[in-house]
Symmetry: C2
Subunit: 329 residues, 2 copies
């Protein structure tokens, strides 16, 4: 992040700002009010080349400005390691991005202050200011998606670490014999507990003939089984699918317990598509978390709750970061 993180509850500028979320396949931008409301939204496919992606971001912001109010600042969340100067140091899924000065290139094009941060940090900040982490000085916001993204709220601010790279919570080893992670190392939590990992668990179970209802949903094609299909079957009460979800929840809980032992949050907010499973996921998740947390019966309960902003968290959080760039009044 390229500026000091704001405190939850502080509002900065009273008017709207723009938030941008540069995702794996789409770029999404919106005008967001100081109350977190989304007033206008545009989106475009994300070019695979980084130079073109910067142009896409700038074009979307210009489009919002043309149709709506003048906005005094822009916040951008990007998947990858963003340093304190708003330079994208590393992004596993974008070509030609090493050392891309995202902030300065956007400021030159847009002529307003820009703040750039990791997308998961932006989403965490959104939940901290306007969502399920509201009021918690110490919280973790963990997104279970294709990978595992995370943001650490520490003392009411996004914890950025020494260089802006903190919060890569998916990348600690939980199983040395585990599958290779997107980052190249082995057995990381991300490789065992992401939404994609749930799909893999479903396929493994179905290959053993133990997930017939889900295999039906996939038209009988084993390789077509996704985590979403397992979730749908579990929501319909299929006992086999519920069993997979329980095993998956245990994988998630191992990581939660490790992070809680290290960081002692008061709340863990879970985001990503699997949140729709509700108690089907959260019930076994809370139980397994308590089993793995050190001395869990002797310490204040750490809440495990669902995110409130859904797929909007990144945009809303980036806009909230931008709001802090604007002097109030």
């Amino acid at each position: 992040m390229s500026s000091p993180a704001p405190s939850p509850g502080s509002t900065g500028a009273p008017g709207p700002t723009v938030g941008v979320d540069v995702g794996g396949t789409n770029v999404r931008a919106a005008v967001v009010g100081a109350d977190g409301s989304v007033a206008a939204e545009v989106r475009a496919a994300r070019p695979t080349d980084w130079g073109a992606a910067i142009e896409t971001v700038a074009d979307l912001v210009r489009q919002l400005r043309k149709e709506g109010p003048e906005v005094p600042a822009v916040g951008v969340g990007v998947a990858g390691l963003v340093d304190d100067d708003g330079v994208l140091r590393y992004a596993p899924n974008i070509a030609g991005v090493l050392g891309a000065p995202v902030r300065s290139e956007l400021e030159a094009r847009l002529d307003v202050p820009v703040v750039v941060d990791n997308d998961a940090n932006a989403a965490a900040w959104g939940e901290a200011v306007h969502g399920a982490a509201r009021g918690a000085a110490h919280a973790l916001v963990i997104t279970l998606g294709t990978g595992i993204g995370g943001g650490i709220i520490a003392g009411g601010r996004v914890y950025e670490g020494a260089h802006g790279f903190a919060g890569e919570v998916g990348h600690f080893q939980v199983d040395r014999h585990g599958p290779r992670c997107a980052c190249g190392d082995f057995g990381h939590w991300e490789a065992r507990a992401s939404g994609r990992a749930l799909g893999r668990m479903g396929r493994e179970r179905a290959a053993g003939g133990r997930l017939p209802a889900v295999l039906d949903r996939a038209g009988g094609e084993l390789e077509a089984i996704t985590g979403a299909m397992v979730g749908d079957a579990a929501l319909d009460g299929d006992a086999d699918a519920l069993d997979v979800i329980r095993d998956y929840a245990a994988e998630v809980a191992v990581g939660f317990a490790g992070l809680a032992n290290i960081l002692d949050p008061e709340r863990i907010v879970v985001s990503g598509g699997l949140v729709r499973l509700g108690e089907v996921l959260f019930g076994p998740l809370r139980a397994a978390f308590a089993r793995h947390l050190e001395a869990s019966e002797l310490r204040p309960r750490i809440e495990v709750v669902a995110a409130e902003l859904g797929e909007w968290a990144g945009v809303i959080g980036a806009a909230a970061m931008a709001r802090e760039l604007v002097p109030p009044g």
Copy 2:
């Protein structure tokens, strides 16, 4: 910790304070100057009963006061989970300790302000103010001993988390198939990378006939092999022992990488008896750390250095915490 953590470099009271380290077998207390110098020291065996241990701590402090200057505040580090009110919630190795109000009991006996924190947090603060973490706003201080203790320096302060329990860095799972940890869960980093784990690695290697020089040091008794013996043999240049140290360094590095991905420190300070191995340990440790850290070639280097205060870190850090209780001047 029962008061806000101070910032490194701040000195608080200009005069000496008392620091106490309640360890596994001994209680040690000393008068420590504002420059970190240790002026007087006393110690005693730690009673296994918690009530008696509190009396021992109070007696040692009274003894120091009788022989030396009047001290305005006392800091105490204890192995276990200490909450924000100075209550010891959980200590795996002390009997009858659940919910012991350490701070209030000591303040009643000593009639000066007392601060109580986890021993590893105290040691981390000692290194931050007077030792190898000096000048680093974001650092980890990791003690490789019987277990693995750790303290997180974040923004120039000890990071305590929501309830004072942060920094239990030994207790995240790195190997689901790994040995049982002292806390009851399985495959934690502590169980694989502590000094005790080095002894286990040595015994396993010797059982396979591949560590003859170390087996000699143990008088031919396999079960007598300790981590220290492996270290001694490695320092003498024994190739087999050096190989064990390399494997051990890789275990340590896996945890360092996970913590660095989560917390992005600028420096990791290693303490504990194994520090005496110098480059025999630190060489392979730095190399393995770089291999496991996400995008390590694209980010600023995270230093891995030896602690400077040795076994005094806890006492010196606790005294430095106490110094902050005293108004300057």
